[in-house]
Amino acid sequence: MFAKHLKTVVMVATRSLDDKGWVIVGGYGLRLLRVVFLLSLWRVLLPETGEVSGMTRDAVLTYTLIAEVFAGQISVRTGLDNALWHGDIANRFLRPVGIYGQFIAEMFGTGLPNLVMFSLPLFCMAPLLGVDPLPEGGVAGGLFLCSLILGIAIGAAFDFIFASLMVLLEQNVYALMQIRDAISVLLSGAIIPLALMPWGIGNVLVYLPFASLASAPLRIYTGTGDPAFLIGLQAVWAIVLWPVAHRLWNANRERLVSHGG
């Protein structure tokens, strides 16, 4: 039943491994340096002992490291925006596979090599960076996975909503993609835990759907948030956003093809 999707996952995953190995390794090197840098920054800002806004330094370090390990999953991209940008969306309608299924398969295919070649080694070498990579407990680890899956679902819904809006507004796809990336990275808590933001704005941002992408699963992982509340909120957003995505997508389907094709 899922053979078509699996084949697409494999095709996309191997596509990104199609060229010189050292280029890929170099890219991962840059990512590693970025993590090391962010970890250093937290060590400057936060005291070694005690808590700041309910987070210990160790929890923030774990939060930062895990955010990078699962970077592909917490800032999920289906590739829909690229299909629009490159103008090949029409081809997707010619394949005997559902549109959502195709893009979600591509999303997994894109994430897979990074997960194996970067995330796993980074997780294993965390102790060398002075970070405890393990979750707060076994239950927290399990709930984290549930939360991560919900986050991915919400991210995919965002992608479809955003793509539909881009077409509806007939605007510069590239510029809008950039804005969306910039805003969601900041508001999702992927770089700065929302609790560490000034003026209490984190308390507001936590209710926005962006927080469901990164902040919720990372707080569950580090044991700095209430799993029931966070997962409940994610479920609400998934239930709200998917029908919106579906409706917008269908309403704009014809324009999508003429725009992207």
């Binding site: 191997t14 491994l17 199609d18 890929i24």
Partner: protein, 343 residues
């Protein structure tokens, strides 16, 4: 075009001179198996591709030369060598008395290049803006620019969409605009790599007429590649065929037909629905009492064929095979020869 003084720097009558040119590329080979991922990444198989092999070619000033061959034969590589984009692996490339790589800046002021699947137009700008950009970058004096603009607008009919955004043009319009843009600096030689790809028959005819006029009136040298042999036959007096990087034929279209025999199509209408038995022909098929054959007129004259027909003939038609069929036969013949060599 042919401005006084320009010819002084070129080597006599020859516009293009390729001598013993080799061009080798290396291509990574990848297996589709998951277990080969790391091998693909760090120790891939490399295949050597000889795109051109000992190519010798001369093109005289004012000639139109068709440059044809199957996919992957080396046509675009040759055009890129002559456009200062690529350097040969060995051998020498001379055009208008210059080395395209060494004298690039001066050289490209004297040539015009169009790649059929690419555009030099600024995509999100009106066509007019690209022309203004061209004027500045090619340093075309205003008076000459204005005169040329009038000339190309007349000849290519780009006035109607001159103020439209490039991305809104049809393929035919885009190609006309690209051709016009290419001509603005009055090049002495044009390299056209599949300039009619994807355009409709009317646009194609306009483009071909335009190239012929340009050659006739301004003496511009043209080298054109295409897969459309009818188009090339209409346009060029000379055809150079390339196959697997080697020049396989260089002559005119009549010679080309002769080399592969004078292939013709024969249709005989008889009283019977079964085809007549004729030796020296190849039977294609029958439709009612009309029977279709191909034959080589150089080997078997028509009267000899007709003398063999035993039944009453109602009507006869014979015509030369379209050039596309001749070329298809030629490619098939080349492939068969290669298979033979391998075996």
């Amino acid at each position: 075009m042919n401005k006084p003084g320009r010819n002084a720097t070129s080597a006599g009558d020859i516009a293009v001179k390729l001598s013993e040119v080799d061009k080798i590329f290396y291509q990574r080979q990848r297996s589709e198996k998951i277990q080969d991922v790391f091998k693909n990444l760090f120790r891939p198989n490399i295949r050597e591709i000889r795109a051109l092999q000992k190519v010798d070619l001369r093109i005289r000033r004012g000639e139109i030369v068709a440059y044809a061959g199957p996919n992957g034969a080396g046509k675009s590589t040759t055009v890129k060598l002559l456009s200062s984009v690529l350097a040969p692996t060995s051998g020498s490339v001379q055009c208008l008395g210059m080395n395209p790589m060494k004298d690039r800046v001066q050289y490209v002021k004297r040539i015009g290049v169009v790649f059929g699947q690419r555009t030099e137009l600024w995509w999100d700008q009106p066509v007019a803006a690209s022309f203004e950009w061209k004027r500045v970058v090619w340093e075309i004096p205003r008076a000459r620019y204005d005169a040329m603009l009038g000339f190309v607008k007349d000849l290519l009919g780009i006035g109607e969409f001159f103020n439209s955004l490039a991305r809104q043009l049809s393929l035919g319009q885009k190609m006309r605009a690209d051709l016009a843009l290419m001509l603005m600096h009055e090049p002495e030689i044009l390299f056209l790599d599949e300039p009619t790809i994807g355009v409709d028959v009317l646009a194609k005819r306009n483009i071909l007429d335009f190239i012929k006029n340009l050659n006739r009136e301004k003496g511009v040298t043209v080298m054109i590649t295409s897969h459309d042999m009818d188009e090339l036959e209409q346009l060029a007096g000379r055809i150079v065929m390339i196959d697997k990087g080697r020049i396989a034929f260089d002559g005119d279209f009549r010679q080309l037909r002769r080399q592969f025999g004078d292939r013709r199509h024969l249709t005989i209408e008889t009283a019977s629905t079964s085809p007549p038995r004729i030796s020296g022909v190849q039977f294609i098929g029958s439709k009612g009492n009309r029977h279709h054959f191909t034959f080589d007129a150089a080997q078997t004259p028509i009267p000899t064929l007709l003398a063999q027909v035993q039944t009453r003939i109602h009507d006869i038609e014979t015509h030369r095979m379209p050039i596309d069929d001749v070329i298809a036969d030629m490619y098939e013949h080349w492939d068969a020869n290669r298979e033979g060599v391998r075996e």
